[in-house]
Subunit: 385 residues, 2 copies
């Protein structure tokens, strides 16, 4: 079987074999609806509680601060719409480079009388200090700034931003999307809470867990209107029969990600350094190169080369990479994230993301570099550059 | 290992072994984000399309009428809130015995200026003809009446009700929750559409599929506001990385349920007849006994016996059954469904649901009857009846 080298871990990660093993009994004879009052139901409830404790421990939260949902997009929508649903219409401020699952629900709020303000970023993708002061003066009721960006990997100093908001006053709730951060940099809800963060989103399938499980971690003082109402599961905040197998996998994936983070980060950062120094030698622009970034993420462009075309050529050569954000099936044109950073649209059109993970090694990186070299030479010949 | 006899298939079904086998590759090296533009992503997209065709075929719909979501509760919430979000505030009418995932979001709409009207049912749990006429005269903008009830198994003549609504005029959209109906009675969206139904909900884990996948099937003319907005998956109606393994399992489970339905229904109906004739001999009341019901569902009470207590005793004796609705973790007191049917609250307090499925046989039913007999005698002795 043809198995291309997988360099798209920010889109979705392969399932960790240990996580898979933990899930299998829940896809076998352990048939559980955690609300049922018989042995099968109680076993499901125990597994749910254990997973909740694992997720909480991995992010420095209390188990009763964890609300299980079906994915990161749901977690972000639950925060944006759920918090807004309990407040009088006001101002919501979100980073200009937020994930669409924060931007789109924030746009939807406008139809309910809310105002939306995008917070500008600087050329390295960090929240722009001047614009941030301007935004805080507007006293936004809700703020959402991501811990790490899915495309560039840029890490924001969310604790400092939340502390600014707390000092400025007027903000009811500060949320951070930590979906890409988890497992790659430290995510400590307790410390973030002290700074003023009230909620954060995490997801299983970005850390070696399965698709179908994620969580909104929230301070219990945050009042949320449920997005999915019904049987009253998850303390009434998220109804529906729990996806037990996925949640069990999420729990273990969180535990493993926390245990392995420091070592994995060092290894991936070294691999990325190897990758980026060679790319720079080929004349590539590395986006947000001087910002603090996730250790696994490299976002670059080669002058005169179209990103989509390069992704297609590399795919045929056996390398799975992304151009712009693979989370966004409907987006066309250059990355909105790069445009918000002030990157020239022509250069942005060439953007290609390599996101490394557990299965990658030096040989794959070297093979990839050789393929990029060969492909760009070929494309430039064809284009007569 | 202690494996109680499982009689709670309306809460969740054991995963069909063939479905499990189909899912495993997607929990292995097939690591797919269906939005990604490389070989892994394309393989995921192909699997997603194949599952969409399977689900559509099983319910007589077109593939592009299928919106994949995470569960039945989400499908119902997407309809109620999604359709209401595109209409001026008006009247929503829902059956008095609807699942909480229809009732609760309908209640939430009241905070957005909507009016909620519960449609009365008769003593057998069917929509009350007189009240239905009254409701239609109020010209509800949205109507939701379930195809089959999760507790009683009562099947409503939804096609006739939708035709009534179409004749009466004024209803923008008629939805039916078919989560319990699928695989047990015929579900034909094409025929329902001709009668005036515009959307229906189905779910994987009630038909031998996994938890974590479900669908809202909808006429493409229905305008819906997405509940989970973001990357634009599912035609913009449900954002978030698709849960590929669960969706692949859902597709096959639908195909198998459709192929096996007639034979399975006959077998389960015979098993239930055996069960109910013996229960009647013990003096049990069978709820909705003369209504058209799902072939697998038996909802009964024994005079003077508390349902919760009996569930606990039977659990210890090795039988997994439900008292009232196991979907509802927060509900206490007698079943709202039975109260809506006018059942005496004292008798309703004794309600116990047996929902049969693929793994059940005559011997289990006979063992269960013996256990019910022994347990009730013991309880009556203790209570001095």
């Amino acid at each position: 079987m043809f198995a291309p080298a997988y360099f798209d871990h920010n889109a979705t990660t392969p399932l960790d074999p240990a996580v898979r093993s933990a899930m299998l009994p829940w896809l076998g004879d352990r048939c559980g609806n955690a609300s049922a009052r018989h042995e099968y139901g109680r076993a499901a409830k125990r597994a749910l509680d254990a997973a909740r404790a694992q997720v909480a421990a991995a992010v420095g939260a209390e188990p009763d601060e964890v609300v299980f949902v079906s994915g990161g997009s749901e977690a972000n929508n639950l925060f944006v719409k759920g918090a807004a649903g309990r407040l009088p219409a006001g101002l919501i401020a979100v980073g200009a480079t937020e994930h669409p699952s924060v931007l789109r629900p924030a746009e939807q709020l406008q139809r309910r009388g809310w105002q939306l303000r995008r917070i500008a970023v600087d050329g390295e993708g960090r929240v722009d200090a001047d614009d941030w002061r301007t935004v805080l003066a507007l006293r936004p009721a809700l703020v959402s700034v991501m811990l790490a960006n899915n495309e560039t990997g840029v890490v924001q100093d969310v604790a400092a931003l939340a502390a600014d908001a707390a000092r400025a006053g007027g903000t009811s709730c500060f949320h951070t999307d930590a979906v890409q951060a988890l497992g790659k940099v430290a995510v400590d809800f307790r410390a973030l809470k002290r700074a003023g963060v009230r909620a954060l989103s995490v997801s299983a399938h970005k850390i070696g867990g399965p698709q179908g499980a994620a969580a909104l971690i929230r301070d219990r003082r945050v009042d949320l209107e449920p997005l999915i109402a019904g049987g009253g599961q998850e303390g009434g905040l998220r109804s529906g029969t729990e996806n037990l197998a996925a949640i069990v996998g999420f729990g273990l994936a969180c535990e493993l990600a926390a245990a392995r983070r420091v070592e994995a980060a060092a290894r991936l950062q070294a691999l990325r350094a190897r990758l980026e120094s060679a790319l720079a030698g080929m004349g590539a622009t590395i986006f947000a190169a001087t910002a603090e970034r996730l250790p696994n993420t490299c976002y670059f462009a080669l002058p005169g080369i179209d990103g989509e075309t390069l992704v297609g050529q590399l795919d045929r050569a056996g390398f799975a990479v992304a151009s712009g954000s693979a989370c966004s099936s409907s987006e066309v044109g250059p990355s909105q994230t790069l445009l918000a950073m002030g990157v020239d649209p022509l250069l942005a059109q060439g953007a290609l993301r390599v996101s490394l993970g557990a299965g990658n090694d030096e040989r794959q990186v070297d093979d990839f570099l050789a393929a990029v070299q060969a492909t760009t030479q070929k494309l430039r010949r064809l284009l007569g550059v």
